[in-house]
Structures are given as C-alpha cells and as structure tokens.
C-alpha cells in the first residue's frame, strides 16, 4: 500500500520537512521552559501530529490506482461507434476524449499508459502528446473519394499533364472531370463500382503560366459533387542548341532539321560537300565557326547529331573532345546509324544489337502505324535506357548514360516517310521524345518539392529544397525567414515548414538568388478531404506501429488522498493545544 503512495508536491519535501522539524523544535523548546507540566510528552506528541498533518496537506499525497483508469480512447473524425462500444465493454472505466485539433489532450495528472485512437486519426503535429504512452490506432474505414493522386506540379508547354489518382469506393456512373481554365472540360473518366479505382486524366498544356485546374466529380444528372483544385505551373520550353554533322545530305536530316528549326530550336547543320569543304546552315542562330571539335566550340550545344560514318571517321582528338564534353558537360550525342554501325562498332558510343529479319515495326501505343527500321534491335543490357519500344517490347531507340551526358541511337530508318505519309504528328512525337531524352539537361540552381503540391491554409506546409547553394536562406514573399534544416546524409537537401496564412498563390524565395522562386497554391482545408484523411490514416497507422513496439513505462493512474482528514487532525490537535491551558486555568 505504501508503495502506491506518492506526493504530488514531492519536490517540496525537503524544505517542508526541515521547516516542520524546526517549528517542532521551537514548540518543544517553548513547552520545556514555560511549564514543566506532567502533560509535556502528550503535548509534544500532539504538536508533532498537527505539524505532520500540515506538511501532508501541502505535499498532497496521491495513491496510484491500478486498472482501466490508465487507458483512454481518443475519438477523431469518422470514428466507428460500434468499435467504441466494444472497447467500452472490455475496459469499463476507460476514459473517452473527443479530439480537438492542436489542443492539449492530457490536461490533468493522469497521463494514460495506453491510448486508443479511433476515426481518421489525430494530426501528425499532435503526436508529441503521446510520447509517453502506447498508441493503438484502430480504424478500418477509409473515406470515399480520391485518396491518392500524383501529377507534375511543374510542367512545360507542349507536354502532357497526366493526373493519376486512386478513388476509394467510387459511386457507379459518376464521372471525374478534369477542368481547365475557364471551366473547359479537358478530360473525363467514368467511375465503376469496384472497391478502388485507379484513374488517369491527361491534357496537353499549351499555355505558360500559373493555373488552377480542377478535378470535378459529377453524377449522371450533371450535378457537381466536389471540386478540388489542381494547381499547375506551366513554363515555356527552353529551346535546344543542336549541332548536326553529316557526311552527305540525307532526307532524314533534311526533315529533322526543318522540324527542329520550325519548333524554335537553334540548329547548326554541317554537311560535307567534298573533301574539306562543308555546307553550314544556321537556323535561328547567329553564325558560329565550327571546324574540328573542341571543348570550346561544343560548349554551347546540348546535342550533337552525327551520322555513323562521320562518327567513325572522327580523329583521335575530336573523339576525345567529344567524349570529354559528354562526360563533363552533359552533352548529348545522337548517332544516325547505318549498317556498319550495327555490326562492327566496338568501342566508345557502341551498342549491342540483335539481328532480326523484320525491317518494319510499329511503336508501342501506335500499333497501326508502320515504321521502317534496319534489321536489328537493341540488346537489352545494364545501363541501357530504352526510349522507344515496339509492341513486342523490343527496344527501338535507347541511350546510355556516360558521365553527365548521354549517347543514344535508334534502329528506326527513314522516319521522314511518316511525314510524307501525312503522319506528321507521329513523326514529331517520335523525335521530340528522342531528342528530349538524349540532349543535355538544364541544371537548375534549386529544386523545390513538397508532398502533394498543395498547401492548406493555417496548416503546416512542409517542403524540401535541393540546391547547390551552400546555406540557402528562404524567405516568404513578405520577407519572413523560414528556418531550414539540412539533411543529415545529403548535404544539398534541406527541409522546412511554413504556415500559409492567405488563400491563393503564394511564393517562397531564396535570399541568395531571388530568381529562384517557389510558387505554391494555398487552398482551403475543405478541399481534397479524402486525400488528407487518408494521409492522416497512414501517418497514424505508422505512428501506432512504431509506438506499440517501443517499450514504455506503464503509467499509473493516481488518486488524490482526501485532504479533509489531515485537516481535521490538524484542527483537533491545534484545538487541543489551544484549549487545554484555558481549561486548566
């Protein structure tokens, strides 16, 4: 029994005890000298009792109580009443608490040793309150709606915006619609009656700027059930600088250069007329002397397109320079293949091919369109990154990374026939993908990332920043500094949290380089409810899994010993000490 007794104000124990003993001594001393009456010992005893009671009153003794009192149920949004009832049946004296966001849960002395969380869970920023107890998260209802989605928050003009998502418990025949600016419907998908449905919506972006697209759920009557924002940042494409080196003019190059030049890229074509004589064509660019390759004159280019024969004939230095530019500067190299290239190349810029009889193929996803190719396809090997495959999953064009750059080629031949056959779109799609993947990449100073890309008003918005700046200082648009935390392993990765206060577009910027901005969209918490709930469920489950594994002290419930008894003892003792002398007199 005595083990269970503790004092609430245990820290006052020593000063109080000393004070009490002093007080008692003074009392004994006073009694001793005033009158050595026979009841001296009785008085000493009684005064001890009185002082003792007083001390205990101040110390506030508590008794620990075993059992259900150390357990607690926290009810959050979407909890299941049946589950609560069954918990209550097992633990009769369990405490029930209704969760309020960002508020202290354990206000009194009794911090329970185990907590059940029901419903969609508590906000992750409230987890700290459960540091000393075991958390068991009990939930089996996932809200109906879009619970997960992903899309490229930052995109370029001309590219496809693809929005993929997972819909939990869809209502049959409802429709999800991707809405563009001005309420234009861009794409839609019908929902089935599966438990979960994966859906994809896409649209081609044809305008640069900051936009808020929306995902709308409509029923068959056209009534809109929900409308959630999809913020998008669309940038103008950066044109490429391309050098084409050809031993002789070909139709393939002619059509390719025309296409690239029309799309606004800077193209330099050098084709050989005769020995030592060249034809230089400059498209959308100033004249630039280009003789033999040197690192300096290759510097401005993002991609070199060269035919296999010219490539083979390159001198030793040119070859070394080219290799170096690829390795160090990230230059892309595209080799226009020929028969010899497939058979005999065995060094820098070589690929392994498999012979095959077919000289016609199709592209994955466009099985009806025939494209001529040489009787080879790529041997799939380590480090080979396929760009195009046919319907049989044979690699038709691919690249290999080399240092910072890439070397690529294709087995497709005479693709200009597509243009002649009126399949310009396929031709453009083919080459734009090929050239985009091989050419040099722009290395931005900073890259911002955030989960879900959407911030909610008055909610913490976590983001990560990868930058080559040594110690980035991030400010809000109003000039407030945001403290950044460096990743322990990766030195250029920083993370931080901010709390957006206004709706709409907001911006973060790096103080060192104010051109590096991070526009993000702040929306109301009522948007994307299912997704935020789902995220909370996942977070809570994770937390619960970790928390239940950790061995934590069993917390005890305490009960304050009623101070009235001590007070009475004190009163009686003092009363006796006060009255006794008077009664005698």
């Amino acid at each position: 029994m005595i083990d269970n007794l503790t004092f609430l104000n245990a820290e006052l124990m020593w000063p109080l005890s000393i004070g009490a003993i002093l007080l008692w001594c003074v009392f004994i001393w006073k009694e001793w000298y005033s009158n050595k009456k026979p009841r001296f010992w009785i008085k000493v005893m009684i005064s001890f009792l009185a002082i003792g009671a007083l001390v205990i009153l101040v110390l506030k003794p508590v008794i620990s109580v075993p059992g259900d009192a150390t357990k607690m149920v926290i009810l959050t949004e979407g909890y299941d009443q049946v589950r609560l009832d069954s918990i209550k049946k097992v633990h009769k004296r369990i405490k029930v608490y209704k969760y309020n966001i960002n508020q202290l849960i354990f206000k009194d002395i009794n911090i329970p040793d185990s907590v059940f969380i029901l419903g969609y869970g508590v906000e992750p920023f409230d987890f700290w309150q459960f540091d000393n107890c075991k958390v068991k998260y009990l939930n089996d209802s996932i809200p109906s709606g879009v619970i997960r989605f992903t899309y490229d928050h930052k995109n370029t003009v001309g590219k496809q915006m693809i929005f993929n998502g997972l819909y939990h418990k869809p209502k049959k025949e409802n429709q999800l619609v991707l809405e563009g600016p001005g309420g234009v419907y861009l794409d839609s998908v019908s929902l089935g009656d599966d438990e979960q449905q994966i859906f994809g919506l896409s649209t081609k972006l044809n305008l640069p700027g900051k936009f808020v697209f929306s995902l709308i759920e409509k029923d068959t009557t056209g009534k809109i059930h929900s409308k959630n924002p999809i913020p998008l940042l669309v940038e103008d494409p950066i044109p490429l600088k391309i050098l084409i080196v050809n031993g002789f003019p070909t139709f393939e190059t002619k059509y390719l250069k025309n296409y690239l030049a029309e799309m606004g890229h800077q193209v330099l074509v050098r084709s050989q007329i005769t020995k030592g004589r060249y034809k230089y064509e400059y498209f959308n660019m100033e004249r630039l002397p280009i003789g033999t390759f040197s690192e300096k004159n290759l510097q401005p280019f993002d991609l070199v397109i060269i035919d296999a024969n010219s490539f083979k004939k390159l001198g030793k230095t040119s070859r070394a320079v080219l290799r170096n530019s690829i390795r160090e500067n990230g230059l892309g190299l595209f080799i226009q293949s020929d028969q010899d290239f497939f058979r005999f190349s065995r060094n820098f810029g070589s690929f392994d091919f498999v012979t095959q009889k077919n000289v016609e193929t199709n592209l994955k996803g466009q099985s009806k369109i025939k494209i001529s190719k040489s009787p080879f396809f790529f041997k799939d090997e380590f480090l080979l990154h396929p760009i195009h495959k046919n319907t049989n999953n044979q690699v038709l064009s691919a690249y290999k990374p080399m240092g910072k750059g890439r070397i690529g080629t294709t087995v497709l031949e005479n693709t200009y026939e597509l243009v002649l056959n009126g399949r310009t779109k396929v031709y453009q799609e083919l080459w734009s993908k090929l050239i985009s993947s091989i050419s040099n990449k722009e290395i931005p100073l900073a890259e911002w990332r955030s989960k879900g890309n959407i911030a909610y008003i008055n909610q913490p918005f976590k983001f990560k920043l990868r930058t080559s700046i040594a110690k980035p200082m991030v400010n809000t648009i109003n000039g407030y500094k945001i403290s950044m935390r460096e990743d322990i392993d990766i030195s250029n990765l920083w993370s931080a949290t901010t709390y957006p206060k206004t709706l709409g577009w907001d911006t973060l910027l790096i103080q060192q380089d104010t051109t590096e901005v991070f526009p993000y969209f702040v929306t109301h918490t009522s948007h994307w409810r299912s997704q935020t709930h789902y995220e909370k469920i996942v977070e809570n489950s994770k937390y619960s899994a970790v928390s239940s594994k950790e061995s934590k002290e069993e917390n005890k419930a305490f009960r304050l010993v009623n101070p009235l008894g001590f007070f009475l003892i004190f009163l009686i003792c003092i009363g006796y000490l006060w009255l006794k002398p008077k009664m005698v007199n």
Binding site: G183, G209, L383, S436
Partner: protein, 743 residues
C-alpha cells in the same frame, strides 16, 4: 322555448352563408397556391386570390340565402319539419291556434334535428379543386417545370431586341434613349426568287449578294448611329426619325451598333453575326451510262442517258459539249459541238431530269473516231453564274483495221514519221496480192502490182532525198511528162527543195535535229557526210559492230528498193518480196542507229570539258553558309496573354485596367478571325470579350466564360523537344561514376 323559430332559421342561414364563403375561399385559394408555387411571389398570389374571391362572390352570391329560402330548403330536406318552417317566420299573433301548435312543434323538432341536415354547398368540390391546384403547383415546383418554360421563353424575347449598354459606366448620364423599333430587311438577289424578308433578329444568315437594310428608331433624339463591322464603321442615314443603312452581303463577319446620345455618352450593342451562304453551283449527275462506251462498226450506235441537274436557286441552262476526234497521232482533228437535250430545259427550275440520246452516225463519226462529251450546267446567279460540269464520258466506234506499228522492242515510243512505215505496208500489200492472185484477173493483178511498184518508187525517192542524188523531179516526170520537160533543163537549186514541205511540219521529218545536213550532202568530197556530226564513240553499235557507214547502208537499201520495184513492175511480186524484206531490214537498222539522236529531244547538255574531268581539284569549290530564321511565330499571342490575365483576375481581387482592355481588344481581333470560320462556336465569347473592353463592371462568371471560350480557341500544340531540368547532387554523380566503372 329558448330559441324562437326565427333564431333557428337565422342560425341555419348564417351557417349556409358561412359555408358558401368557405367555398369561395377554397376556389380562390387553389389558384393562389399554384401561382405562389410558380413564381414565389406572395403579392401575386394574394392578388390572384382577391380577384378570384371577387369573381366567385358575384358568381356564388353568398348573401343570397334569405330566411325564406332557408325555410324552403329545410322543408324540402327535413321530413319532421312537415313543410311548416314557414310558420316560424310569421309573427305569433298572426297565427291560428293550430298553427301556433304546429309552430311550436316544428321549432322543437328543428332544435333537435336541424343538426342532421347541412346547407347546400360544394365544399367537397371546392376542396378537391383546391387540392388539385396545390398538387399541380407543388409538382411544377418540384420538377422545376417553370424553369423550362422560362428558359424556353427567355432567350426569345431579349435576344431579338438590341440591348445597348453604355461604354462608360461611370460618367453621369441622363436617361438612356430607348429603342423603339428595330428591323432588318433581307432582300435576296432577284434570281433566287425568294421574297424579301423582314425580321427583328439581328443575326444575319443570307445568300451572297443579298441586300441588307437595317432600320432603327429611337424614342428620343440622338446624335448619330453607326454600324461597326470588322474594324470599320459606317454611320446610318437619318430620315423620318428612322436610321437606315443598306449594304450588300459579300462576306461573313460581325457587326454591332453604336450610338451617341446628346450627352455624348456612347452606347454599343452586342455583336451580331453575318453569315454568308454561298450560292452553290449546280450538281450534275449522269444516270445510266458507263464512262466508256464502245461500239462495233455495225452496231446501232446510239447513246441514251438521263441527266439529273439540281441547284439551290434554279438552273439557267444545261447543255452538252461534245467533241469528236478523228484520226490519230499528229493528224488528229477535233470538232466541238454544243448539243441540247431532248427534253426542254426549264429555266429557273431547281431540279431537272433530262433525257438525251446521241446518234453517233448523225455526228458523222466513222470507225476509229472518238466522242468525248460532258454536260455543263449554269445557274442563275448574278452577275457571274456558277458553272459546273459533269465528268467526261467517252464513246468510241471501234476501228475495223488498226495496225500497230512497233519499231523495235527497245523503243518505247513510236517516234518515226509515217512514211518510214510504208516499206512494211508494201510487204503486207505484196503478200496480200500474192495470196489473192487466184481470185484476181490478170489485168487487175498486173495493175495492182504496178501500183505497188509505183509506191515502192515513191518510197525510194523519199529516202533518196537524204542521199541528195535523187531528184524529186523524177517523180514528177513520170507522172506529168509535160511539166518535166519544162523542168528538165531547170535549175539545180531545186535539188534542195523538199517536195513534202508544204504538207509536213518541219520537225516531223527525220532530219529534225540536223541528222543529215542538206548542205553537206552537196559536197561530194566527203565520203560520209554524217560522220562529223555523230559522236560515234558513244554508240557501240556504230563504232565497232557496223563497219558500213549509215550512208552506204541507206544506199544499199535504195538499191534493194530499186530491185523490188523492178520485179513489181514486171508483175512478179513473188520475186520482189526478198528485196523488200532486205530493204525493210536495212531501213530498220538505220532507224535503230538513229535512236540515240531521238533520245536527245529537248535537252542538250553543255559539253563537258575533257580536261576538267576527274582531276580532283577543288580550289573552286568553297564552303557554303546560309542562315535562316525558321521559327514559326506564336499563334494568337494576345489570346494567350488574355487567358493568363483572366486567370489572375479571376483568382485575385484585381480590377480590369486600361492595359487589360487594350489586351482584350487585341485578343478579340484575333478571335474574330477564327470566329469567321466558325461563328457559332466563338460568337458568344467574342460578344463577351467585346463587352469587357467597354464596360467597367464585369461579373466574375463572365470572365470565367471568356477564359473558357478563349482556351477552347487555342490550337493544339505540336510536339516539341524540350530541355529537361534535372538537379544532380554529389551522390548522383558518385553513383553514375560507380555504375560506369562496373559496366
């Protein structure tokens, strides 16, 4: 007796009247509920109910039941009243004793039984009617029928009237002048035979060339009215308080009205579309005829067919253009004729079925002749009628005799002039003569043989021209001895003249490319006059295989012809045949050797200097540089900017400023071009966009709609290669290096 009879009856009357009142109320309440459900306006429904109450009050007359009526009614319906309720009305003093007794009894009975009968009323009917009205009203409200009705109604009325809005909404202004009358008169071109059309709808859709007249009248005096269309504006003419403007429709477009009132406030209307319908050309279809018909010589050479011609505004004329071609090759002759149909063409009819049969014999066609014809139809469009023609149809009378001349397998085209063929013809004729020898009389046989001999001679003389040693006069001599005598001692100059000059085109002859130079023929010193003009080293046949020169070959051929002629003249065609064959062979050889020159028709490449060839010197070859800007200009830059600006305006709380308005105007101009092709799709956006450039207050929803419309108008982008952005860190680079090492 507590209640007098009078009181009883009065009470019953009051009850009756009360029920009538209730009935009136029920009748009027039903429609009132309905009205309320329809329009949700309490005032309206109260008004309706008051009016109905008044109406029903007159109709039902609730004041009518008086005591007399009441007593009558009770007498009829209550047996115990014993038809004596009338007694209750009379004062007691006037009644006899018995009557008093009866009065008393009745009064007592009435007190007890009066509750069992009720005054006549149609309360049930009233409540049913009210219930029906209420249910109908509720259903209409529930299913929003009224919305449909309103929707159907709404656009009709306001769409037709021109709505003017002030361009400047801030400046103070007086009362806006009101449009009293608007009218658009469309006068179709007279040939369409469509009567002129009056409408209040300002969107025009009419045939090209229609005359459009607008008439607008305002209630007050205003400064001026203009019609603005596609960047130009025309002020309307004012006469008799009506503004009019007339124009001829010749292109699709948009227009709007603008007027300025006396306070100098300017007002504009919405944009209206003008859609021009082009008068389509007539459609011609020939039924029941194959594109290509051929007839045997002895067949009935008649072509019959039916033609259906349609036009949207009436056909002016239909006829057949037939061309007969005679002969082949260079000697082909054409004869064009315009034929009319057998059925009469009715001018102005929209759909014609015409019949025609063409007799090829009547067209004076002979075997081997071809007839091409097509049908041309004109419509009545003014000033230039639309013409359309059918496909061309062919009819051929098969030639009974067709000789196909093939020079040699290697020669694709028969380029040889006709008179070279005759040697073969001679052979054929000779063979025929030999075959028919038994059938013919000797005289006939000899005659024909002689004839062939003559032909052989003519042929020989023709070849001899190239040799220069045979005078054409020889031919003449034999035929016309008289003339020959004159010419016998004639001048030598004649030698050079071509006897066929008048009958042949110069380039028909074999000597077209100066294969044989006439002048050179005279110079006797040279053995082979052709030698100089031939690159013999390029002709393998010539250089080694044939030792004999072309000239000697020709002479040899002429000698063979001499002999052939000799035997023909001796009436022994059998003996002549071998010579003829040899001559033919030789002629063919000559032709073949000439082939190389035939191929040089049209292009004479400049001679290559021999010393330049294959030297490998490239001093004169230089580098070539060219610079081009091929980048396609951005399409619709203002529309793009406008969409972006609208996005900001929609999200933010900014207001439209002057810069925006200029931008919107530019975007409007860009959209107008696109809208011309598809007015139905973009007109609304264009109208709204125009409003934003003028008014100051634009609701947010309109901005959203404009943005949507503009977004729709953007063309699809082409696929483009882009420079991707990738952030690399130390770790990435390390990984790449590591991967490469282990590759």
């Amino acid at each position: 007796m507590k209640m007098t009879g009078n009181m009883i009856l009065n009470r019953f009357r009051r009850r009756w009247q009360f029920m009538l009142w209730v009935e009136i109320l029920l009748y009027s309440l039903g429609p009132a509920i309905l009205v309320y459900f329809l329009f949700f306006k309490l005032l309206w429904s109260i008004l309706v109910s008051i009016v109905l109450v008044g109406f029903m009050f007159i109709f039902i007359k609730p004041w009518r039941p008086n005591l007399k009526k009441v007593s009558g009614y009770i007498d009829q319906h209550l047996d115990t009243a014993e038809y004596s309720t009338g007694l209750l009305l009379l004062p007691e003093e006037q009644l006899s004793g018995l009557a008093k007794l009866q009065q008393y009894k009745v009064a007592k009975e009435l007190v007890e039984k009066l509750g069992t009968i009720s005054p006549p009323s149609n309360l049930l009917r009233g409540s049913v009617i009210m219930g029906l009205f209420a249910i109908v009203g509720f259903l209409m409200y529930q299913f929003k029928i009224i919305n449909y009705l309103q929707e159907a109604k709404e656009p009709k009325i306001p769409a037709n009237t021109i709505v003017f809005t002030a361009t400047d909404s801030i400046s103070k202004r007086g009362k806006q002048p009101k449009l009293e009358h608007q009218e658009l008169i469309i006068d179709y071109p007279s040939y369409t035979q469509i009567p002129s059309f009056r409408t209040t709808k300002m969107d025009v859709k009419a045939v090209e060339g229609s005359k459009l007249t607008w008439r607008i009248k305002f209630n007050t005096h205003i400064k001026d009215v203009t019609i603005e269309s596609m960047g130009s504006s025309q002020s309307m003419n004012y006469s008799n308080e009506i503004y009019t403007q007339t124009s001829t429709l010749n292109a699709s477009g948009f227009y709007n009205f603008r007027y300025t009132d006396v306070q100098n406030t300017s007002y504009t209307s919405d944009l209206y579309a003008i859609e021009m319908i082009k008068d389509k050309g007539p459609g011609v279809e020939i039924i029941g005829l194959k594109q290509f018909t051929s007839f045997e010589f002895d067949e009935n050479k008649k072509l019959s067919f039916k033609t259906s011609v349609t036009d949207d505004f009436g056909i002016a004329d239909v006829y057949i253009i037939a061309t007969v071609s005679k002969g082949s090759g260079e000697s082909v002759k054409f004869r064009e004729e315009k034929l009319s149909f057998d059925t009469k063409v009715i001018r102005g009819s929209k759909n014609l079925k015409l019949l025609k049969s063409i007799d090829l014999d009547k067209m004076k066609m002979e075997p081997g002749d071809e007839l091409y014809f097509y049908i041309e139809a004109l419509d009545r469009k003014q000033p230039m009628s639309n013409t359309s023609r059918s496909e061309t149809f062919f009819a051929v009378i098969k030639d009974t005799l067709s000789d196909q001349f093939a020079v040699e397998g290697t020669m694709g085209v028969d380029l040889m002039p006709d008179y070279f063929r005759s040697q073969r013809q001679l052979i054929i004729d000779t063979e025929k003569l030999i075959r028919e020898k038994s059938k013919l009389t000797k005289k006939e046989f000899n005659f024909k043989s002689n004839e062939l001999g003559f032909d052989q001679k003519v042929l020989r003389l023709k070849y001899a021209e190239f040799m220069g040693d045979e005078s054409e006069s020889e031919l003449v001599n034999q035929e016309n001895p008289e003339i020959s005598n004159e010419d016998e001692h004639g001048d030598e100059d004649h030698d050079e003249e071509d006897p066929l000059e008048q009958y042949t085109h110069k380039h028909d002859s074999d000597n077209e490319h100066n294969l044989v130079d006439h002048k050179e023929e005279d110079s006797e010193e040279k053995n082979d006059p052709l030698h100089e003009y031939l690159h013999n080293h390029e002709d393998p046949e010539e250089s080694t295989l044939f030792t004999q020169s072309l000239k000697s070959k020709l002479r040899q051929a002429l000698n063979e012809m001499w002999d052939a002629e000799l035997y023909l003249r001796l009436y022994t065609p059998e003996k002549s045949l071998p010579y003829q064959y040899r001559a033919l062979k030789l002629i063919q050889e000559i032709k073949n050797s000439a082939r190389v020159y035939v191929h040089r028709i049209g292009f004479d490449p400049p001679p290559i200097k021999e010393d330049k060839r294959l030297t490998g010197k490239i001093e004169e070859v230089s580098n070539f540089r060219k610079k081009e800007e091929l980048q396609e200009p951005e399409i619709y830059p203002s529309i793009r900017q406008t969409i972006l600006r609208l996005e900001e305006l929609i999200i933010g709380k900014e207001k439209i400023n002057d810069d925006d308005r200029t931008l919107f105007e530019k975007a409007g101009n860009e959209l107008a071009i696109k809208a011309l092709e598809n007015p139905g799709k973009y007109l609304k956006t264009l109208q709204k966009l125009k409003r934003t450039t003028e008014n100051k207050k634009i609701p947010l929803s309109t901005l959203v709609e404009i943005q949507g419309g503009l977004f729709d108008a953007l063309p699809e982008l082409k696929y483009n290669a882009v420079k991707r952005k990738v952030l690399t860190g130390e770790i990435n680079e390390l990984l790449l290096k590591e991967l490469e090492v282990h590759d």
